[in-house]
């Protein structure tokens, strides 16, 4: 499972990196970025989903491959 942020949609609301600091960070403009490859473990998946549910711009996507 992988998480990604659509940089076109992200406006730097800052919700993702405060909810899931192990999954998301921020760039010099304060926009959200995925840390590393964005591969999720069962624990980080929960937090990534919560961040997704809190992003006002709907900019976070989780690819749930088998």
């Amino acid at each position: 499972m992988k998480v990604s942020i659509d940089a076109e949609l992200c406006q730097g609301q800052g919700r993702c990196f405060s909810i899931a600091p192990d999954v998301f960070g921020f760039n010099d403009l304060g926009n959200g970025v995925v840390l590393g490859e964005g591969t999720l473990t069962p624990e980080t998946l929960k937090l990534a989903r919560l961040a997704m549910a809190n992003c006002p711009e709907h900019a976070i996507f989780i690819e749930e491959s088998s």
């Binding site: 609301q13 921020f26 010099d28 304060g30 919560l50 006002p56 711009e57």
Partner: protein, 402 residues
């Protein structure tokens, strides 16, 4: 100026400075959502108010049909002359694409989490100092003597303006955000000392450059040229105005809520880790900021026959109470886990100072409840609310119980 007529029906004649709206706008918005859902008024030269989350977010993201060249509704329609597009008077909040992105890129790094989080220790020390001034007083004014001092002190430090100017800042923010229904000539006259003040600060920084945002703005280059002073002054006015009344209102509203909900106050005192989640709910439930847009051209939009230069009152606080998007939207739920609120706006004009606002709110609340773990409204009838597009309590006497 003649006396204003009372509002007959908020669906067809709304006025956001009407006393009913100022005191408690939420029932009005709920009513509008059920029967409009876009309200209209002939006041202010003509304005529309979408009351739903869908209406607000659609317009907020649509920079093709709506302009930001004025974001505070004034008395009457603006002209191209007094509000030049696409830059506007206070970039980037008053800018449209493509200039908007250039101006925004310029200021965003200064408001990213890194530099903002570095301000926390001095912010905390300042809150402690303000609380110390209350001494052994049983009743403290959390609005006029606490919340309203925090944002101006922080912004003043960031801009590098004299410490003695904190009170002056309050006046400037007040002039710009409130009293929107004064006649245009009076508004222009009121702005003279504001502009003079900023130009004097620019002169001082040119003579004595230092490590602050004013010097940064004076030195930054756009296409190989430094910014004209009017532009620097515009950005500074934006930072000051957008950063003071707004955060002060958010801090005040949170304290007003806690004073009346001892169960929520007790949870925050006993569960400090809850604070970040609680802050998002304070922001949703008591979102202080309503913005404005201008209709670019005659069109049918959201079922309304909009005319060029009609105002749009963009009510993020109303969007945050829409039950179509938020479960139990009219309930304050301190540990609400899923909270996609739009208190800081949406799209390209997302509040640039949101990281700063959140930090101020967190530090101000943490320090206040640490000093006063229990408090209540000293006199509910004495609480007053600001009038205009920024909503929050002003006079807020609290009885502290120890």
């Amino acid at each position: 100026m003649s006396e204003k007529l009372p509002v007959a029906d908020f669906a067809t004649d709304f006025d956001h400075v009407d006393s009913t709206w100022v005191m408690d706008p939420y029932p009005i918005w709920e009513d509008l959502r059920s029967r409009c859902p876009v309200a209209h008024t002939d006041r202010y030269g003509g304005a529309w108010f979408p009351a739903t989350h869908e209406g607000v977010t659609t317009i907020a993201k649509d920079t093709v049909h709506f302009s930001s060249r004025s974001v505070i509704i004034g008395n009457g329609r603006p002209t191209e002359e007094d509000l030049p597009a696409p830059i506007g008077l206070a970039p980037p909040i008053t800018s449209d694409p493509p200039f908007h992105a250039i101006a925004r890129r310029l200021i965003l790094p200064a408001f990213a989490p890194g530099p903002i989080n570095a301000l926390e220790p001095q912010m905390r020390a300042m809150c402690v100092q303000l609380l110390d001034r209350f001494g052994d007083d049983e009743v403290v004014n959390a609005g006029m003597a606490y919340a309203n001092y925090i944002p101006p002190s922080v912004i003043r430090q960031m801009l590098g303006f004299p410490e003695s100017d904190t009170e002056r800042f309050l006046e400037i923010a007040h002039i710009t955000i409130e009293n929107v229904d004064k006649p245009e000539e009076e508004r222009i006259e009121e702005f003279v000392p504001v502009n003079e003040y900023f130009l004097a600060q620019i002169e001082d920084h040119l003579a004595n450059p230092r490590d602050d945002m004013t010097s940064f703005l004076l030195n930054v280059e756009l296409d190989g040229e430094k910014l004209p002073h009017e532009l620097v002054s515009g950005v500074m006015i934006l930072i000051l105005v957008a950063g003071i009344d707004t955060t002060w209102s958010a801090i005040g509203a949170a304290l007003w809520h806690l004073a009346q909900h001892p169960e929520d106050l007790a949870r925050l005192v006993n569960e400090p880790d809850l604070m970040p989640v609680a802050i998002e709910e304070f922001l949703r439930f008591y979102a202080p900021v309503t913005m404005a847009r201008l209709v670019k051209e005659d069109m049918d939009y959201l079922g309304c026959a909009m005319k060029q230069d009609d105002w749009i009152l963009l009510g993020f606080p109303a969007a945050n109470r829409d039950p179509a998007v938020f479960k139990d939207a009219d309930q304050f739920i301190i540990d609400r886990a899923e909270n996609r609120h739009v208190a800081f706006g949406l799209g390209i004009h997302r509040c640039a100072g949101s990281n700063l606002a959140r930090l101020e709110l967190k530090v101000a609340l943490e320090e206040f409840i640490k000093r006063y773990p229990t408090f209540e409204l000293a006199d509910p009838g004495a609480v007053t609310w600001s009038q205009g597009q920024i909503r929050g309590p002003r006079n807020l006497p609290l009885r502290t119980l120890r």
